[in-house]
Subunit: 225 residues, 2 copies
């Protein structure tokens, strides 16, 4: 298995702020369109006309594009730029997105809205979406606490359904044992009562340890975008 | 906790085929736009112009819309219509979507493509996306085998990273014990070697048992859309 590559980019804080505005804005608009496309009840002729115009916009964006996925890059100033990430990615319309608050004691938390796009049972958050969000947040807690890793095992216990709407989630490092970090977390709907509990084991692979030794910016980023 | 409501709709097979064409088409175009928005490298002026035009399209779709989420409905002919589902929903642009093959022996499988929108580590499928897909598939296997339930516990073991690209997943019922069904499953990238293993416990809540007794169509649907 080839090591996972983080690219280096030379971007200033101003560049990053501009990216947030332009591409974060595009992703927000795309999310709004996606939700409207799911909930619309306009007539079929309108749907088909909207689709044709959307396809034309897609072609304009495709005139020039990166070859594969967005990847994760680290700026020369130590900022980790995971704009393509499926949960927190600023540029990823599939992402909720989660605006994660991190604490060096090994805690991470976020408040977010799970709307119609994240439905499983009628009116409820999809159980797999709860897993998706918690996997990311537990990983962030491990990284924030200085013991990052990739998910080795994740166990989710569903206490009750999570209604769609405002939610929050929290994760905290429970134990660090060499390259293995145990993290726990919870998801809560608007009423504040835990609906899903998670426990995760995060393991730092050898290639990542070597990369961290090579370049401290990978292991102790100064900021995440 | 109020029971989760499945609505009844009176749709023929022709109506459903038309929905697939119109709304399935819109969702496919929206997914393509979303991926283009993530991968584009066109100049910022173009991005901002595309965004303005997209916002105008969103407004056209919003002229008339359902109030909350799409929900899950059952047609008078016993077809389960989960078009808003975050993993398999025909109308949900966030959904992969998964075209699930079901077997009454309690097996479910799907082949699908996880592209740039599902990235976690650079070039790799997000661990939470693997959980999202497997949660849905394990639940489908339980339902296909005649012992449906909601996820009670889900454990994922990550054997190695899953590269973005073509993937497949399979799930099968391991044991049925009254209202509790144990299901196992795997995710495999293009090389066919298992990257993620899952074990899930699915539990049928009392309100669902009562609904199944009231209306057999809920318990033994003739088809899923």
């Amino acid at each position: 298995m080839a090591p996972i590559e983080y690219t280096q980019v030379d971007l200033t804080d101003d560049d990053l702020a501009r990216e947030r505005e332009v591409y974060g804005g595009l992703a927000a608009s795309t999310r709004a369109f996606a939700e409207a496309s799911l909930r619309t009840t306009v007539d079929e002729a309108t749907v088909e006309d909207v689709r044709r115009q959307l396809d034309a916009l897609t072609e304009r964006l495709r005139a020039s594009e990166i070859e594969r996925s967005f990847g994760v890059s680290v700026t020369t100033h130590g900022v980790v730029r995971a704009h393509g990430n499926a949960v927190v990615g600023l540029r990823n319309p599939v992402a909720v997105p989660l605006d994660v608050q991190r604490d060096a004691s090994g805690r991470a938390g976020a408040a977010f809205h799970l709307g119609a796009l994240y439905e499983g049972p009628p009116g409820m958050v999809h159980g797999g979406v709860a897993a998706l969000v918690l996997d990311q947040l537990l990983g962030e807690a491990a990284a924030a606490g200085g013991s990052p890793g990739m998910t080795g095992r994740l166990t989710l216990t569903y206490r009750r359904p999570t209604p769609l709407g405002d939610c929050s989630a929290e994760a905290w490092v429970e134990q660090v044992d060499g390259i293995k970090t145990t993290v726990r977390g919870v998801l809560r709907p608007a009423d504040g009562e835990t609906s899903v509990e998670a426990e995760g084991l995060f393991i730092l692979p050898r290639w990542a340890r070597e990369a961290m030794e090579r370049d401290q910016a990978h292991g102790r980023p100064i900021r995440f975008e």
